[in-house]
């Protein structure tokens, strides 16, 4: 897989912003600002602090722009600055959980509760309580469902929440996520798997057939 093609002409934009072009800067914050705020929210739970982190990160971007050499994509570079800013802010706030640590993620974490599979017999390990297709599909699109997804992600262990936010909410490629977070591909995949599995389970609870009245 390769990095997603940039939606902006990064090089031209960087040159313009360096030269003090405000319109170019506006394009840059329109492109990355909303995603940065959402990702910052996964690092620090308080909205006001997340906004401060985003502002601080942009100052870091502006200060660093002279030195930006384009060895990574602009997007990767910007989000790495955001991550570092958020982490040092979280440390100042007294939250110093090492990011890459998988500890505290629930250790023995099954995608689906073991009790939903047959425990023994010829079909051991096969579904005992299988999933039912979600219907109507329209419910997946409604605001209530969106709220369930948002809350579930917010409650995930931080590393999982950040990985699923970058991958599935913001649409980063696996390589981009590994570069931004400086984690291995396999670590990225484990975190993504746990996060997606939990969100699926929450959606199943929300959308599943309920006994009629």
């Amino acid at each position: 897989m390769t990095e997603v093609a940039p939606t902006l002409d990064e090089r031209a934009l960087v040159v313009a912003v360096r030269a003090g072009d405000e319109a170019a800067f506006r394009r840059l914050i329109a492109e990355y600002g909303p995603a940065m705020l959402r990702v910052a929210r996964r690092h620090v739970s308080d909205h006001a602090i997340a906004e401060e982190v985003v502002q601080e990160a942009w100052l870091g971007v502006l200060r660093g722009l002279e030195r930006f050499e384009g060895r990574s994509s602009l997007k990767t570079w910007v989000f790495r600055i955001l991550r570092n800013t958020a982490i040092s802010r979280a440390e100042r706030e007294g939250r110093t959980v090492p990011f890459s640590s998988l500890d505290g993620d629930g250790g023995d974490d099954h995608a689906v509760e073991e009790s939903r599979f047959q425990a023994e017999g010829r079909w051991a390990g096969h579904w005992a309580a299988p999933p039912e297709a979600w219907s109507p599909e329209a419910r997946l699109l409604d605001g209530e469902t969106r709220g369930v997804v948002e809350r579930t992600i917010a409650e995930l262990p931080r590393a999982q929440a950040i990985v699923i936010s970058l991958r599935d909410v913001e649409g980063f490629s696996p390589e981009e996520v590994c570069n931004v977070l400086e984690i291995s591909e396999s670590n990225q995949r484990v975190l993504l798997h746990r996060a997606r599995s939990r969100v699926r389970a929450a959606l199943e609870d929300h959308l599943g057939e309920r006994p009629g009245p």
Partner: protein, 82 residues
């Protein structure tokens, strides 16, 4: 991951992400798809994981708060003024 026999559903649900990410070896992918060939429940599960990814993508619909945008523009002007 090495798998030596037919997959169980409990194994399939743990391999789904690796499958969607293209991380399984050719052999394991074949086994995974073989299982899907006879297990409609796991097909449903796989569909739900895809729907989950789509549902997460819909959290993206948001513009930047105008106040934050103004603050950023101010910061930019300050930076430009040196």
């Amino acid at each position: 991951m090495k798998l030596s026999r037919d997959l169980t559903c409990a194994e399939v649900v743990e391999l789904v992400t690796e499958y969607l990410e293209g991380g399984l070896s050719a052999r394991d992918r074949e086994r995974f798809e073989e299982h899907l060939g006879f297990c409609d429940w796991c097909v449903t599960y796989l569909d739900q994981m895809r729907q989950t990814v789509d549902a997460a993508g819909r959290l993206r619909e948001e513009d930047l708060d105008p106040e934050l945008q103004d603050a950023l523009i101010e910061a930019f002007r300050g930076w430009r003024a040196g």
